[in-house]
């Protein structure tokens, strides 16, 4: 990808945006070269944040960090790990499923609101974002939020910009909450449940006081692709516990006991547990070097398996479930079938489907983001117009 602009400061970024806006040209915003869904944006020029790089401040005792938006996630995680802290929302590394070699940036993570398995218990990326600085479509530098945990001063533009995929502004700096790295991790594996039984079991477990931090169901079709095939035979319903070493093993024991009525139970200790959840986070089974259509679906947890069952009657799909069943990673055997998937989601009470991967031709023919109800779409368009009146940022993306 040719990059036209690589500003090294917020000021320079604002100048570039002002110049582009003056010409009424269109600008594609990228982080560290993750092609992802912005690949199809048709623009006159590309601006990369990768030289807006560096940790601005890190105060472990206050559990906050500020970083320029182009800072690699790997750099941030390395610094956090040294102080036994982490990004609790567990952002995925999309390089495997997208077949990319770029470097995910922290700005990209928040711009796409990327959250992993712990989203179920600890919240999404947007829940950890405390403050932002950004350049709006007129080239003005705006700040919102701050660096404290609780802040209701003025409208929360922080949430609005999180997940806006660079369509409302160019993030230049993000301030976020970090949390202590749990000293221990263990995973209770419940085997042999079908998708529907697993959904029921996960709902029961989440009603127990054992503080399950992540819950996923790995059907037989994908089970062998985790931990190099080392999970017990049969579909695996996996439940993660985290915390102090002593309490994690005590909770694991109680949870295993409670689950044992439903089927065979095993417990994965620390190393295996951590590895398994990294693979779930990064959607390892579908990091298959193909361009087969891959959907990420958000739906009520108990409806995920119903959606997959309904789709199976119509088309070839493979799927596994995170977030207690409420996030479905769905790989299509052929066409993306966007209309079918979205119709079924509506029928099951709502949610949304985002096309994460597909061939260029399929992407061009398929709405990547879930189309919104007309009144909401109109409102979103008005909001966008207020941040980027000339429509210079990532045209065509998000409606």
């Amino acid at each position: 990808m040719t990059v036209d602009f690589e500003p090294q400061s917020e000021e320079e970024a604002a100048e570039i945006v002002r110049a582009v806006a003056e010409r009424s040209a269109r600008l594609k915003l990228v982080g560290g070269g993750m092609r992802g869904i912005v690949a199809d944006v048709a623009a006159d020029a590309v601006l990369s944040t990768r030289r807006l790089c560096g940790i601005v401040s890190y105060n472990p005792a206050e559990m906050t960090m500020s970083a320029l938006s182009g800072t690699p996630v790997s750099e941030i995680e390395a610094v956090l790990t040294e102080r036994r802290q982490m990004l609790a929302f567990e952002p995925m590394d999309p390089r495997g499923i997208l077949g990319l070699t770029g470097e995910p940036t922290i700005g990209g993570v928040f711009a796409a609101n990327v959250s992993g398995p712990r989203r179920l218990s600890a919240g999404a990326a947007r829940d950890h974002l405390l403050g932002i600085r950004f350049v709006n479509g007129e080239g003005a530098v705006i700040k919102s939020g701050g660096r404290v945990m609780k802040n209701v001063t003025g409208l929360d533009l922080v949430k609005l910009l999180a997940g806006s995929h660079g369509t409302l502004g160019l993030l230049t700096e993000v301030t976020f909450k970090v949390l202590p790295l749990p000293p221990a991790s263990a995973t209770v594996v419940l085997s042999d449940l079908n998708d529907a039984e697993a959904a029921g079991a996960m709902a029961r477990v989440m009603a127990m006081p054992y503080e399950v931090s992540a819950a996923a169901h790995l059907p037989e079709s994908v089970r062998g692709r985790f931990l190099g095939g080392a999970l017990p035979d049969g579909p695996a319903t996996v439940l993660r516990l985290e915390g102090l070493t002593a309490t994690v093993s005590a909770r694991a024991e109680k949870l295993a006991q409670a689950c044992s009525v439903a089927g065979p139970v095993a417990v994965l200790e620390d190393g295996a547990s951590r590895k398994l959840w990294r693979e779930i986070r990064d959607v390892a089974p579908y990091a298959d070097g193909t361009e087969r259509a891959l959907w990420c679906i958000s739906i009520a947890p108990t409806s995920g398996h119903q959606l997959v069952a309904a789709l199976r009657l119509e088309t070839g799909v493979d799927a596994f479930y995170d977030w207690q069943g409420g996030r479905v990673w769905l790989r299509m055997e052929a066409d993306p079938e966007a209309a079918l998937i979205r119709r079924f989601i509506k029928a099951l009470g709502g949610g949304h489907a985002r096309l994460i991967r597909a061939s260029a031709a399929m992407r061009a023919a398929t709405p990547v983001f879930e189309p919104e109800a007309p009144a909401v779409a109109a409102l979103s368009a008005r909001v966008r117009e207020k941040f980027d009146p000339k429509g210079i940022f990532n045209p065509g993306l998000m409606g």
Partner: protein, 481 residues
């Protein structure tokens, strides 16, 4: 009617006041009997909220029973440019629900149905007038609760909580309203009904839900909400830690968090707050200490023990003088009763203004000391009772509301304290909102460009500025209508 001369409202729209009788007649046509209040006596209960420094009767109060009725009233008001002030239970501490002379209040107090409880998905869908505590009570028998717990939770409504993005003592672990809200049905200024989010953990498109939460009734009126429920922990235990100075207590909080220990709650009270709360609740707070921390831990017995051991070790390094664990559920309830009734109990002995700035934890001791100095300089007294774990301070400045000079001094002291919080790297308000109270301090925290962008976002929802129009943004520097 005006008590404080410091706070200006927008000049009433003459065109609206002149049509008062006609507007009331039209509203009566839109609503069933018993849903419109327009006589002076009936309007008085709506003239202020828990920020009692200002009172103003509205033009009329509507109390719709359905989303469709809310939409009908808003459509009417939008069409004729009549200001609208939404109201939940009227417990706002920053004047968020205080009406204005030319405004129609839309009160949600009749919309109190719990519509759906879905334990498998751990969600509750309720009408906006349902109280915060009602949600937790409805799911308590099954072992669930709704996490945000403002002190006013017996009275405040979920609609108001969303409007102000309310917090509470237990937010340290569980987050505030925005982190526990999954979806809303809401009505825009022109009567359009929209739905955002639902039972899925993430919604499509822009995070409008995140923008609406904490928007102080300026973007629309929420009529239904879907919130996240959580499983109750195995056990929970509040423990009292007494210190011989506020600085030591503050430093202890910073070290606990810094050590990676995140209890469910860490609440702070200074000596004046302890005596006020103890006199009211008889909670058994130690009276021979200068500062008190209520630290709540939860989980299994073993987990609570392990966490407490680490906290006690840190507290000892900071010279803790008293450690008292609650021995029973009754004792635990009393400890929380004392804390949660702090504002009410203070109201028994004096009038007060409650500040709500949040500061970085490393600044806690510094800001506490400076707060004391500021208040002393104005010849007033202060009681500090607040959420220390997340740095959300609540100095209560005590004064006499019937003495205008005293009131003016209290307001000035409050402004100085909020500036102090911002200068220490914090913000004006952590959980109560800007309302009218902190509106004119906004430029201390934001640049005009920052506010312009917020106001532009606001205008995408309410181009005519009829929704709670006198709040949040300084009256000067607003876009021309």
């Amino acid at each position: 009617m005006r008590v404080s001369d410091q706070i200006a409202f927008l000049a009433p729209r003459r065109s609206v006041l002149d049509r008062r009788e006609a507007i009331i007649a039209d509203l009566a046509d839109l609503l069933p009997p018993g849903c419109l209040v327009s006589d002076i006596r009936g309007l008085v209960p709506f003239e202020t909220d828990a920020f009692i420094a200002y009172r103003q009767l509205p033009l009329a109060v509507t109390l719709p029973e359905t989303t469709a009725q809310v939409a009908a009233v808003l459509k009417y008001c939008g069409r004729y440019g009549i200001p609208v002030v939404p109201r939940g239970a009227g417990t706002s501490l920053c004047g968020g629900a205080i009406p204005q002379e030319d405004a129609v209040v839309i009160g949600l107090s009749k919309m109190t149905r719990i519509l759906d409880i879905d334990l498998a998905n751990r969600t509750a869908t309720v009408e906006a007038g349902v109280t915060n505590i009602n949600i937790s009570e409805a799911v308590m028998p099954e072992g669930f609760f709704y996490a945000p717990d403002p002190s006013s939770q017996l009275a405040c409504t979920i609609g108001g909580n969303i409007g102000m993005n309310s917090g509470g003592a237990h937010c340290l672990k569980y987050g505030v309203t925005t982190n526990n809200l999954l979806g809303v049905k809401m009505v825009l200024f022109d009567g359009t009904i929209i739905e955002l989010g639902g039972k899925a953990l993430d919604a499509a498109g822009y995070d409008l839900l995140g923008l609406i939460c904490g928007s102080e009734g300026q973007l629309g009126i929420v009529t239904e909400a879907t919130v996240r429920l959580l499983a109750r922990p195995e056990g929970a235990r509040p423990v009292l830690f007494g210190f011989s100075s506020s600085e030591e207590a503050g430093a202890c909080v910073a070290e606990v968090i810094g050590a990676g220990i995140i209890p469910v709650a860490i609440e702070f009270m200074d000596k004046p707050a302890i005596s006020i709360c103890e006199a009211f609740a008889k909670a058994g707070y130690p009276m021979d200490v200068e500062a008190l921390l209520i630290v709540e831990v939860e989980g299994s017995e073993a987990e609570m023990e392990a966490t407490l051991t680490s906290i006690i070790e840190i507290a000892r390094r900071h010279g803790v003088t008293t450690i008292r664990e609650s021995q029973s559920a009754t004792e635990a309830a009393l400890i929380w009763k004392g804390r949660k009734s702090a504002f009410g109990a203070t109201g028994r002995i004096a009038d007060y203004i409650c500040m709500d700035g949040t500061v970085p934890l490393s600044q806690l001791s510094h800001v506490l000391r400076k707060t004391g100095e500021i208040v002393a300089r104005y010849g007033l007294r202060v009681a500090n009772v607040f959420h220390a774990g997340d740095g959300n301070m609540h100095p209560l400045i005590l004064y006499n509301i019937n003495d205008p000079e005293d009131a003016a001094r209290a307001e000035q002291a409050g402004n100085d304290i909020l500036r102090l919080c911002v200068d220490a790297g914090g913000c004006l308000t952590g959980e109560h909102g800007v309302g009218i109270e902190k509106r004119d301090l906004m430029l201390h925290q934001f640049s005009q460009a920052d506010l312009d962008q917020q106001m532009a976002a606001r205008a995408a929802f309410d181009p005519q500025w009829i929704m709670n129009p006198s709040k949040v943004f300084p009256l000067e520097g607003r876009p021309a209508a």
